[in-house]
């Protein structure tokens, strides 16, 4: 475990030899750099591949076998309306999820954290146990549920099989256990006095939640939204299984069509579409990375 022998960020009070500190730091960086090598190589290839006709290893090759063959043709798809449609669907699903998971988790997490009611313990245990039910295992059964939902008059047309609404609902539900768990952790950490003060000031419980408590868990909510957005943006299995064709295809479904069985897969084009799908996320991410670290601020106490 030499890798953990790292110099502390604050200079130690004790007489720790400076050389040892330096060595520790070198070990730390060495380990970290080594650990990201596969990731860096993979993404280097991705970038190179999107701009070349074919690659051998990390080298772009032209027809004569020399280095070269750079091309923009892998990016032709950006002029295709289909990909923008897919991007729109991705956005719709992701935004619906952020809203749905956010609202349900914020309300549910608050109730579980701050309310006394019959069945609270069962509920709390339940949220943990729900992690055992993953989307992948329930797909076929959820199909029958969606089919029934589609039969509901009026709203059935929006939440049934083969609708963006239905897909979003399923995705929201499947992200919910984690969302509630995290949000409950954030609410657990808020001071009780603040809530009491608001009640004494005359607020109803709903108002306390909305005006006083929610603003306090905003960093947590933002972190959860970020995770949910990523999950929604990259959702594949559920959108794919519960929709017909590309009408409601999102980016991952679109991408998967490029590489299906025996297809004339142009891997470099796949790479380009994949990059295209990632770019908004990465931009989003760079701006919000600090928020992400809030994700478990509430959880360090365990509840």
């Amino acid at each position: 475990m030499t890798t953990t022998e790292i110099a502390p960020p604050i200079r130690p009070v004790g007489p720790l030899p400076k050389t040892r500190e330096k060595m520790g730091r070198r070990f730390a960086y060495g380990f970290l750099i080594l650990s990201i090598v596969p990731i860096l190589i993979g993404y280097s290839w991705l970038v190179i591949a999107t701009f070349s006709f074919r690659t051998e290893g990390l080298l772009p090759r032209n027809a004569e076998g020399g280095i070269g063959g750079f091309t923009l043709r892998n990016w032709d798809f950006v002029t295709d309306a289909a990909i923008w449609n897919a991007m729109l669907n991705s956005l719709l699903i992701a935004v619906a999820m952020v809203i749905g998971v956010g609202v349900a988790s914020a309300a549910g997490g608050y109730a579980l954290s701050r309310f006394k009611f019959a069945g609270r313990k069962a509920f709390l245990t339940g949220t943990l146990v729900l992690h055992a039910f993953k989307a992948e295992m329930l797909l076929i059964a959820i199909f029958f549920v969606l089919r029934s939902l589609g039969d509901i008059p009026i709203i059935g047309g929006f939440i049934g099989f083969n609708t963006v609404g239905g897909v979003a609902l399923v995705m929201i539900a499947l992200e919910l256990p984690l969302g509630i768990w995290l949000m409950k952790g954030f609410f657990d950490n808020l001071p009780w006095d603040m809530e009491r003060a608001a009640l004494i000031d005359g607020a109803s419980r709903f108002r306390v939640w909305w005006q006083i408590m929610l603003p306090q868990v905003r960093p947590g909510l933002a972190a959860l939204s970020l995770f949910t957005f990523i999950a929604g943006w990259n959702a594949y299995l559920v959108p794919f299984t519960f929709t017909v064709g590309s009408k409601v295809a999102n980016m991952p479904v679109f991408l998967n069509q490029l590489i299906s069985d025996t297809a004339p897969t142009n891997w470099n084009q796949v790479a380009a579409v994949g990059m295209f799908q990632m770019v908004p996320l990465i931009i989003f991410f760079i701006f919000t990375q600090e928020l992400l670290l809030n994700i478990y601020a509430g959880g360090s106490k365990g509840t």
Binding site: A82, L88, V95, F143, F161, Q257, S260, T265, Q269, E290
Partner: protein, 490 residues
Amino acid sequence: MKRRKKRLPGLMILGIAFALVAAACAGADTVDTPPETVIVEVEVPGVTVTSIVEVEVEVPTGGELITLVARCRAKQSIEEGRCNNLLRGVVDANAALEASGDDRRVQVKIIQDNPAAGDYVTEFELSSAAGEAPDIIAAAAVNVGTWGASGIIADVTDMIGDYPEFDDIVPSLWASTELNDRRYGVPLDAEARPLYFRKDLLAELGWSQAEIDSLPARLASGEYTWEDMFDTAEEAVDAGVVDPGFGWWPRPKNGPDFLYYYYAAGGELMDPSGALIYDTAAAKIVYEIMGDAVARDILLDTRLDGDWGNWHNGVAFGNVLFWFAGSWQWAEWAEFFVADLGGEEYLFENVGFGPIPALARGTNTPITLTNPFAYMVSSATENVDLALLVISKATTTELNTEYALASGKLGILKSQADYEPYTSARFQSEMAPILEFTTFQPNSPFFSAWSDAYYLGIAAVVSGEATPEEAVDIVVDQLENELGDNVIIK
């Protein structure tokens, strides 16, 4: 930190607003009441290119505009004729309706993209169960076995005769859409699964130009056998012309191909009762051949890794001497792999093809297999007649030929034999004779399980996890567990 806090809600609001506007726009594209004359602009969504086909539909007063939804799985840019031809048939279909005094008019909406085969099948089953099935679906004919049995596609046997265009279809192809002597679809293409070989590598091995040029003929005559092919491959490996394991490649994962190995070994598949047969003797021959190929270093024990990317890279750039593949893949290599090397010309120069060689230990006749695509009509649709009408108008010599040439498929119409654009297509005309040796997959609801089990044996032998004898045992075990009484072990 503070600035950042403010930015996030802003981003989100922007996103939500965008989404709402988009949703509003998306909701606005439905056409409800048919006006007297509508110009239906049909979007043809390709995976990379979307083309717009304009179709004019004139609906007579008191008439009815019926919209049919067609669903096609098509590879981008090369197979999109599958659905596009239906769109193009609409004009003729409406003309025919007018001519017969029918007040109905038809328009077609298409959903065309390229999911994986298994996913595509599942999608149709789920959408049928959910009442969202498209009216027309273009799918592999082998699905007739399941779908005919479950009743989600319409039995069109008695209506085929009403559409003269269908008389032009090569009669033997109809068999692929039949289940229990009833027809459940209309063939739309055919393909061959040939042996490809690298001419340049054979030359390097010392073959004369004449020997190379005569190879297709020798394959067709049965003179050059499967065993000969293995010998040549081994020679090439030993001579260093190709790397060890690059002498002969099958496809990298399960698929229709492996069935002709079984046929070639003399295996029987279908009992007159409809039960499937697993012929252990034939299967053992197949497994022995596969084991042999690995043992002789002409096939890697890791070749069946399911990775098409790796596979295409191997075969398209001349690293492999012999390989079994599909006729349509020719078009793929030309367009997507060797376009900068000269495309199809490069291929003709360096790659040859012929039927799958005769297996001397088996039937000793050359072979290939066709897994045609067919148009099927959902049993949920109320307008089977209109669907067939549109399909018939898409099954014309011009349209079908155009599609076949673009996709590297073979024609299905008798009339194509003397249709100049078709006959002058070099690849199609060179590939056509191979069809002589064609076989089909059986239309049985149990074939999928059979095929999965059978392939297990191949995978086991190639990876070295089982001897051919053990492989047969494993497969028999698996088949009995999966199919019980629905399989006969011979």
